[in-house]
């Protein structure tokens, strides 16, 4: 059973409900097969969309309030956006635990190309689970880092469609764009 702790417990600058956020975290975690305690810290004062993993074990996540926001209705919670943000973080945790990502640099040492390539592989898998998506948005981000070329588009397809790549494979696919 997934236990979720959300900080803060109440919000002053945005109209979020910690209980609702906790339910979304638990729902996404359970769909990904994660059954353990998750701590989520939210900076409600920041409308930006940053997010990071503070600790892999135990799981501690940190996000800007904007990363959970409904972009149509500023200051309101956006379930779809939250699923996407939290799903990507949790999938990265699962990847690192899988043994296929043992050679992955620490999160802070990843460059933008590596980070975006891994993100595409995460969101592609989330999309097939019915969590998150926005394929064209992810393609645009990928092209910004890997080039507006046919080679980059083919690399994107491979990252998006694959089910279980290793870090070595992700890096090779990303590097091929750098070289082209």
């Amino acid at each position: 059973m997934t236990q979720v702790s959300v900080t803060p417990e109440s919000f002053d600058m945005v109209f979020y409900d910690a209980a609702v956020i906790g339910e979304v975290v638990a729902e996404v975690a359970e769909r990904l097969g994660l059954e353990e305690t998750i701590n989520l810290e939210i900076d409600e004062g920041s409308p930006l969309g940053r997010s990071k993993i503070i600790s892999y074990d135990p799981i501690e996540l940190w996000v800007d309030g904007g990363a959970l926001e409904n972009t149509k209705r500023p200051r309101q919670f956006g379930t779809g956006r939250a699923r996407d943000t939290l799903g990507r973080l949790l999938l990265r945790i699962l990847d690192r635990r899988s043994g296929r990502f043992d050679e992955t640099p620490a999160d802070d040492d990843l460059d933008l190309m590596q980070f975006v390539a891994w993100d595409v592989h995460c969101v592609g898998r989330l999309n097939r689970l019915g969590i998150g998506g926005q394929r064209q948005r992810r393609l645009y981000q990928f092209r910004n880092r890997h080039g507006f070329t046919d080679v980059a588009d083919a690399a994107f397809e491979q990252l998006w469609d694959s089910s279980e790549l290793s870090w070595t494979e992700i890096e090779r696919i990303s590097e091929a764009c750098r070289a082209s």
Binding site: T71, K72, N144
Partner: protein
């Protein structure tokens, strides 16, 4: 058909959600601006930023809704005033041409949204541009919309064009370049009509320029548009000169931005 159509009654399908100025300015985290937020010390918009592509998407959506409102505003100006007693026919012809341009810009913006992975209506719409286009004096209306807001559009389009260039995105770069050319023409129309219609009316000229300043200030949250290297949106001196701005007028906008930045850094 009634004159001066109220902003809150503009037709939108359910995909679009309007954010009022009160809601926007009342956000304790700072008002949304330039694809980011005025509460933060926004960096210059470039692809190198981790959130650069997403900020560009949000800004492009703001441009799109601005194009819709610019079309609606220019269309209203064709209708709201009488030839002879209010405005010359040639002014209406300019506004009709602007409608043609803005409609084309809407179509380009829709295509760019698709290119960048943005759904129409994905971000809240602010109606300030159209509200400036509701001024009952045609001179003030053209000064507020064509010189202040379309002037800002020059800066925004140039910034987005550079973003496309730096990212190696020819679609974004060329689309912004084409729209930028039209915006320079629109601002020039505003400058020309301002001078022509106030040639013998200093008081009206002063009122129009004051209205322009008010609109400029409303869009100058934390001085996000300026000449400093790290300004999120770069003030584009050359294109403003082409659009009929004097050096003093450009200096004044740059100073206003600088003051707003200092004030925000507080």
């Amino acid at each position: 058909m009634r004159k001066i159509f109220p902003a809150e009654e503009l037709a939108r399908d359910p995909r679009f959600i309007r954010q009022t100025n009160e809601q926007r300015l009342g956000d304790p985290r700072g008002a949304r601006v330039a694809g980011g937020n005025s509460g933060d010390r926004l960096a210059k918009l470039t692809p190198e930023l981790a959130n650069g592509p997403d900020r560009a998407r949000a800004l492009m959506h703001g441009i799109f809704t601005g194009e819709i409102q610019a079309l609606e505003g220019a269309g209203r100006t064709c209708w709201d005033f009488e030839v002879g007693e209010d405005v010359p026919l040639e002014l209406k012809l300019d506004m009709a041409r602007q409608c043609w341009d803005e409609a084309r810009h809407c179509e380009i913006s829709v295509a760019l949204a698709e290119h960048m992975g943005t759904e129409l209506g994905e971000f809240a719409e602010n109606g300030l541009l159209y509200e400036a286009a509701c001024n009952p004096d045609p001179v003030l209306r053209l000064t507020g919309v064509n010189r202040a807001l379309e002037g800002l559009a020059i800066d925004v389009f140039n910034t987005m064009k550079e973003f496309g260039n730096l990212a190696g995105d020819p679609v974004l770069e060329f689309c912004e370049d084409w729209m930028l050319a039209d915006e320079v023409t629109h601002v020039k129309m505003g400058s020309d009509w301002l001078r022509q219609l106030t040639a013998n009316d200093k008081e009206r000229l002063d009122k129009a320029l004051e209205f322009q300043k008010v609109v400029d200030r409303l869009f100058s949250f934390n001085g996000f548009r300026g000449e400093d290297d790290d300004s999120p949106i770069q003030l584009t001196r050359r294109f403003r000169e082409l659009a009929g701005f004097s050096d003093d007028e450009i200096d004044e906008i740059a100073d206003m931005s600088r003051e707003a930045r200092v004030e925000a850094a507080g």
